[in-house]
């Protein structure tokens, strides 16, 4: 196995997890909600892609973004805005509830079996550069990850709405006192997390070509865990943590010897527990204390 090859694969996996972690970190920053139900946004967008892609691909992409954003806003309006003042642990439990609830709803609507369709079939092709085989989908996920991370960063630092989001995530109450419209800032962050979820859904459905009720759970779990070890509330830290977990997972899959490869996920969780014990507030928490992306 070529090391360079493995690194490329790991980077593309990491990019997807970083996107998921960015969505979680943004929402957490503004309202202290570690949103378990982020995975169900990904699943919803995935369903839209799989069902509509055979009909018309631009429609599918627009619908995926629309569905994920609408669902994110709905979640906020129906559940989270009512319990904003509760401690983070309660919010986490509530989002856990929303997550399971939505999974059952998907069960009911689409059935427990996976739906399949080829999403962006052109992307499964690969290009050869010397010894390396590079899947187009890896290139796309890395590019998509970079573009969206940059876009969110520019939005947060260059637009007035973005600055309001940053201020709100720094100190929600003070920001409110200073005249920042809390409702619209929160709605906006939820909407962005919806867009990110749609992007993740695109990469994942292009890779697997199928969607089931628990489609978004795995990536969200790892992203949530990644953003926690990176330092929740520090956006840069969340993204780095999410990337790290995806990267580690991919490298473990490639390099662990066969007899122990089944335990790769166990190793990731062990790593997480160890990191949290060493650095309870996340690895990147202190270094980035002033600089917030």
């Amino acid at each position: 196995m070529n090391i360079l090859q493995a690194l490329i694969d790991a980077t593309s996996t990491g990019a997807v997890y970083a996107l998921a972690a960015l969505g979680i970190g943004l929402v957490f920053g503004v309202m202290r909600l570690a949103n378990f139900a982020n995975g169900e946004l990904i699943t919803a967008a995935g369903y839209a892609l799989i069902i509509l892609w055979p009909i018309s691909w631009p429609l599918a992409i627009i619908a995926a973004i629309g569905v994920a954003v609408a669902l994110a806003l709905f979640m906020d309006a129906a559940v989270f805005r009512w319990i904003r003042s509760q401690p983070p642990a309660t919010l986490l439990i509530a989002s856990f509830g929303v997550s399971i609830l939505l999974q059952r709803v998907y069960d009911g609507i689409f059935g427990t079996n996976v739906l399949s369709a080829a999403v962006a079939p052109g992307l499964t092709a690969s290009i050869r550069i010397g010894e390396l085989r590079v899947n187009l989908i890896s290139v796309v996920s890395i590019a998509l990850g970079l573009i969206l991370l940059l876009a969110v960063r520019l939005f947060l630092t260059r637009t007035s709405m973005g600055l309001q989001v940053q201020a709100a995530s720094e100190d929600f109450r003070a920001a409110r006192v200073l005249g920042i419209r809390a409702g619209s800032v929160i709605a906006l962050t939820f909407a962005i997390s919806g867009v990110l979820a749609a992007a993740i859904a695109f990469v994942l459905t292009a890779q697997s070509g199928s969607v089931g009720p628990t489609f978004g759970v795995q990536v969200t779990l790892f992203a949530l865990i990644g953003s926690t070890i990176g330092g929740l509330g520090r956006l840069g830290g969340s993204v780095a943590g999410g990337f790290l977990v995806g990267f580690a997972l991919s490298l473990f899959t490639t390099f662990l010897p066969d007899w122990i490869n089944d335990f790769r996920i166990a190793f990731v969780y062990l790593l997480v527990a160890v990191v949290l014990v060493i650095a309870p507030n996340g690895i990147f928490a202190s270094r980035l204390s002033k600089e917030r992306t």
Binding site: A34, A89, A94, I100, L101, A266, L270, A273, P280
Partner: protein
């Protein structure tokens, strides 16, 4: 909990000594659980089966309360101890011949081990307590969200190990079968009542009181000399042992053990029970479990279909978990402290004995 200056309610004349009023907070849950079981087992055969699972869940939820309720620290990992308990009981009670045929790669000491059900239950509790102690030593410095995530990682770690480690179980995610059914409903009820009593006893202990002080004010407690981490580890260990008992009872009712059963859904169901009742009190854990179990039984009947006059009413399958999720979210929105408001089942008539200062002396 009883503030000395509060206005006496209803019948101020009927006062009882304080120890008795305290005992009341144990007697009420015990009697309610016993009555509930008595009623449920006399309704129908299916109700009796569901009752068994309800009691197993009750043990697990009470175990979770022992830690979460007293410490105020979130744990998504308790199903790991449930899994350890279930695994221990299974390995000890499945007949040797079946064991060697479905799990040929088992460690010799595990394939030779055999115990009577009650001894196996005790060993399961010890195993769960040990795993909780070891993981608690590492994890108990964490607070809030980080604790939730770290304990969740622990659950996933344990599930992965039980799924893939052939020396401690069947190969790659297969199930352990051949579990003899050794506890009848009466025994399960007795075990549940015993666990409630143990959890209550722990709740009365000095360690638990210090832990609750740290729950209510994490800054002040250490400053007053409370060793928060130590008491959390103690609570986590007790709670892990009780949860393992719950797992052992659950698995022998279920008859089959499989690693994938100890999943997010199981975690969610038990957390929902605790949240709905009220995380902060033992009474809340009991009320939440009984209420959700009864509701869940009723919903599963409705899923099968019920004759009402000329109409056959039936809910689509899967609506059970949807309803549970919705109820939990609604309770969190409108009554975040749960149905009981996080209070114990108090003696309805104020004990007049409480003197100002008596609280501080405790």
């Amino acid at each position: 909990m009883t503030s000395p200056n509060s206005v006496p309610r209803r019948f101020p004349g009927i006062a009882i000594p304080e120890p008795l009023a305290k005992l009341w907070t144990l007697v009420v849950p015990l009697v309610v659980v016993w009555l509930f079981s008595f009623l449920a087992s006399s309704i129908s055969q299916t109700a009796a089966i569901d009752l068994g699972y309800a009691l197993a869940n009750l043990i697990i939820v009470v175990a979770m309360w022992t830690f979460i309720g007293n410490s105020g620290v979130l744990s998504f990992g308790h199903i790991a101890f449930v899994a350890v308990g279930a695994w221990t009981l299974s390995l000890l009670t499945i007949p040797a011949t079946i064991k060697s045929s479905i799990m040929p790669d088992l460690f010799p000491f595990l394939s030779d081990a055999q115990a009577t059900p009650l001894v196996a239950l005790a060993i399961a509790a010890v195993a769960g307590g040990l795993v909780a102690l070891l993981s608690g030593l590492a994890l108990m410095r964490l607070n809030g969200l980080e604790a939730g995530i770290a304990t969740f990682a622990l659950l996933m770690l344990v599930v992965q190990i039980l799924t893939y480690w052939k020396q401690v179980g069947p190969k790659a995610g297969q199930s352990m079968t051949g579990l003899p059914r050794s506890f009848d409903l009466q025994t399960v009820l007795l075990i549940a009542l015993l666990v409630i009593a143990l959890a209550w006893l722990y709740g009365q202990s000095r360690s638990a009181r210090m832990l609750r002080a740290s729950r209510d004010n994490i800054q002040a407690a250490p400053a007053s000399g409370v060793r928060v981490t130590l008491h959390r580890v103690i609570a986590f260990t007790v709670s892990g042992a009780l949860a393992a008992i719950g797992g052992a009872v659950w698995v022998q009712l279920n008859g089959v053990a499989q690693a994938s059963q100890f999943s997010l859904d199981f975690t969610f169901t038990t957390i929902a029970m605790l949240v709905v009742g009220g995380m902060r009190s033992l009474w809340g854990a009991v009320v939440g479990t009984l209420a959700i179990s009864a509701l869940s039984h009723a919903l599963s009947l409705l899923e099968k279909g019920v004759q009402l006059g000329d109409f056959m009413i039936s809910l689509p399958s899967g609506s059970r978990l949807i309803t549970l999720g919705a109820i939990m979210v609604i309770i969190l929105i409108f009554r975040p402290a749960g149905l009981t408001g996080g209070r114990e089942a108090m003696w309805p008539f104020r004990p007049k004995i409480t003197r100002p200062g008596a609280q501080a002396a405790e």
